[in-house]
């Protein structure tokens, strides 16, 4: 009886590696019976829902030093993968240098979840609501496979995730202060639409980051969309329509069409495809229109 009960009551073993190398080594030796654990907020819901089995071994990435924290680099920001969503949200640096990401993080889950959940975990989810923002920001993911450093764009990761035992160590966001003498203006927008206003799974998320020149033309633009179980990806046709162009109403209507056309949401019982497409197209067009209005007002 004692044996049986012990077996039943045994929680997963929690391993606390001190280094990335050690963690990767553990993962390789423990194999399929193990899982990396960051904030564990997503894993918990999967265990409860029965969509993932509780593994026998949890490898706690929280015990590895230097995986969390936000720092300024020559080329932008570096956010450690174990940085909590709350830390991202409260960070002055993120607010200043990547306000698009700050907006995205605010829209993820609720307060208590954001305290535990990490940016790295949200990226690893692949359909996490930070991913469209990171794609729009042209963020780079920094991985380590043992001692080897691997760099990959957020966009690539979302389109083809790797199942390797490598560990996401940081998210790098390009863009310094910019040229202070330039008249170009950076603009951004993040929208998440769910079935309620807060603490909600998303139906549609869109993220836009661009640069508007003094003459009203767009010199850079990245638009990404995801939502629900839809893999976040760029809306390149809309981008092409905008690059080098000004934000005229007719052009925005074409952008609307292009989003309807290219955005391919995954279905669930709670919203139709048409609704998701129309929402993404409306939000993108409206965000660009808002940008044009505020520029016009200032000009």
């Amino acid at each position: 009886m004692a044996m049986n009960q012990e077996e039943l009551l045994r929680s997963p073993a929690v391993w606390q590696p001190r280094t990335v190398e050690e963690a990767v080594g553990l993962k390789q030796s423990l194999g399929a019976d193990s899982a990396y654990a960051a904030g564990t907020t997503l894993l918990r819901t999967q265990w409860e829902a029965g969509t993932a089995a509780v593994p026998k071994h949890l490898i706690d990435l929280g015990s590895i030093e230097d995986l969390s924290g936000i720092s300024e680099t020559e080329n932008g920001l570096r956010i450690g993968s174990m940085t909590s969503l709350t830390q991202c949200r409260n960070s002055g640096l993120v607010g200043e240098r990547a306000p698009l990401l700050a907006d995205a993080v605010k829209a993820i889950a609720g307060w208590s979840v954001r305290n535990l959940a990490t940016l790295g975990g949200n990226v690893m989810y692949r359909v996490g609501d930070s991913v469209p923002a990171l794609i729009a920001l042209n963020a780079e993911l920094e991985w380590r496979d043992g001692s080897q450093l691997i760099l990959e764009s957020a966009e690539e990761w979302a389109s083809a995730p790797s199942a390797a035992s490598r560990i996401l160590t940081a998210i790098r966001i390009p863009g310094g202060d910019g040229d202070p003498t330039s008249n170009a203006k950076r603009f951004y927008a993040y929208h998440k639409v769910g079935r309620r206003e807060a603490f909600t799974p998303s139906l549609v998320t869109v993220a836009i980051q661009g640069t508007l020149e003094a003459d009203g033309s767009i010199s850079a633009i990245r638009i990404a969309a995801g939502g629900g179980q839809t893999t976040p990806s760029r809306l390149t046709r809309a981008e092409e329509l905008l690059l080098g162009e000004s934000l005229r109403a007719e052009r925005l209507q074409e952008v609307h069409e292009a989003v309807l056309d290219q955005y391919a949401p995954k279905a669930d019982p709670f919203a139709t495809d048409l609704y998701r497409k129309q929402t993404a197209a409306n939000l993108v067009a409206a965000a660009l229109w808002t940008t044009s209005q505020s520029t016009a007002a200032k000009g």
Binding site: N4, Q5, G110, E197, A271, T279
Partner: protein, 759 residues
Amino acid sequence: MLLNRESSGERWRIRPDGPGKVTGEMPYLTDLSAPGMLYGMVLRSSCPHARIVSISTEKARALPGVHAVLTYADVPGLNRFGIAHPDHPVFCEDRVRFIGDAVAAVAAESAAIASEALKHIEVQYEALPVLDDPEEALLESAPQLHEQGNIQHRNDYRYGDLEAGFAACVHIVEETYLTPRQMHTYMETEGGLFIPEENGRLTVYSPTQHGFMDRMQLARILDRPETDIRILSSPIGGSFGGKDELNVQPYGALLALATGKPVKLHQSRWESVRAGLKRHPMKIEMKTGTDANGKLLAHQVRIVSDAGPYSTLSAEVLNFAVEHVLGPYRFGAADVRSVCVFTNNGMSGEFRGFGGNQAVFAMEGQLDRLAEMLGMDPWKLREINLRKPEDPGPLGQPISRTDGVRQVWEALVESRLWQERAHEQSQTVGKAKEDSSPPWLKVGYGAAFVMHGAGLGVGIPDPAGGRLRLAKDGKIEAVFGYEEFGQGLIASIEQMLLEQYGFAAEDLRIVIGDSDVVPNSGSSTASRSTSMLWQSLRRLRAPFKGKLRSEAAAILGLPEERIKPLDGGIRDVASGELLLSYSELAERTQEEIVSETSFFYPTSPVERVGAHFMYSYSSVAVKVEVNTLTGRVRVADQFHAVAAGPVVNPQGYLGQIEGGSGMALGFTITEDAVMEKGLYLTKNLDTYLVPTIAELKGAFEVLPIEELPEGDEYGPRGIGELGSVGLAPAITQAIYDAVGKRVTKLPVNPELLQEKVVF
């Protein structure tokens, strides 16, 4: 005067159970444990509809740490429960009818073992066709779910010549309204602790809205005298009707008695969703017509209500809906036909508003549509057709007379929000918000009228009463059989004893929720508790204070007229000096000082089952903002006028209207327990979405109208449900005002309101 903290002055009190609840210090019943207790779990059906071929429990029994595995064969008494119609199997014998049906239950030394044991119970099912549409269930060809067939209940009501009425109509509106399967979503899921006592009795610590009803039902299942069972039922972490019926109690009781050990059961949210009650989804077809001036001439209603697999109070809910699709209006002729149907969907049952929410959504929707045809202000159309104080009730029955209808109608017109609407209408033609707001945000206003019955109604035993007693330790005990599930019942008892009796809070001990001690005060349902408390205390005041006074007079050797029981004890009438504390009085009195009252909730002198005598009235105005990019609706501002007699407890009153409205907002824009082929698709709170503070942060005003006619004996009418009823039609009218689209199905589908953006 609007009701809020400032306007309430000293009447705004910290509730006695507040600090313990806010800090988490106060244990709920599902937080309790006992030494040596076992963990109980229930095996629920894996099919929405199936024949049970066999049940084998051997392997589960053989698991170490398992103390009992029970099935229908282990139920000593009636293997059924149900407050009004006991047709819900405790354990299914040969057939399961929904995904929450119980087949077996386990008690084990740990939750993990119990959970493991469930997996070792082998049940062989033979799937049967799933009836997931009440209208299909009505077809003759449909499989029959019960011996009586698939019709749980019918109720019709008609008067006047309908055909002639419609023939005389100038305007007729025909519409079909659909309402969602809403979940109560109490924070505390169902559970309890069940202790077999050494003396052979059973003690049950488990939330319910009527301890004595649970005791009766458990006695029937256990085949034991009611007096062998003690029910402790408060405090409760929310109920809203959802814990009125038995839930886990039969399993806890049976397992505790089978094992001779304390057993704890506490459902996960997943199990609560699967097995628990929901609001009846209803399809309400209405055809309503007026003459050229807006006078309502004819009203035809067809209601189909989805009961799910078993009865609980489905028939009573349907009766309530029949009464409330007529509501406060006078028609030349009316014809209501209704049917409640058994299906293999989730269990429907008691839920705040009790069929009124669905009925009023439809009824008010008709008036808004007719007003548009008439080119008339919708609120004016209501005025033309509202009942007069002397008119009979919706079912032709005599009702308690108040001027509530006129009062709340006028209050809405005078409200800040409705004045704002009038101002907007005079200012602009278009509906764009302020100039600064983007073109895709559209604003609209809407209002609805509610007349809501309280009490259980004609033909249903509806006892009331309570006891006041000076305890040995000098505390004045107020003993009632009502339950505290968050509404502020304890605070209301205290406030009444302070204000009406002159006692101090420290003089009091409030005793509720223990069937060994409390009198049968009836259920804490149907907006009745505060009302019945008020009437009880009114009846008890003279006798109880009289006894305190005469006993004290004898002890003090003073004439009775010179002394008075007040705060702290017996005081000198003239000087206010404390002459004898309550503890001294308790010590020195020869006889126990106690007064008890028992009576019945007032009913209308008619035969019509369920007809109400007391009603509360409310008008609701809202302002909404529709974002046409996403089709999402935000309620920006609300006004509720409530005519329900005196405000007993300002905080509780405001809480009921605000909280009710929050639930109604969920009913209208976010909540639906979606089912497909008898299975829930929304299995947890990550897909079943109740409103959060982000939805509820709009402005909110409550205007209580306390005035009652001279000589009124009934005092406060209920307000526990009222706030949850009128919001939906007010919102859908405001949506129409904003974007010109009629919503007929709740929750509102954003896709309907979405438009392609144009600049």
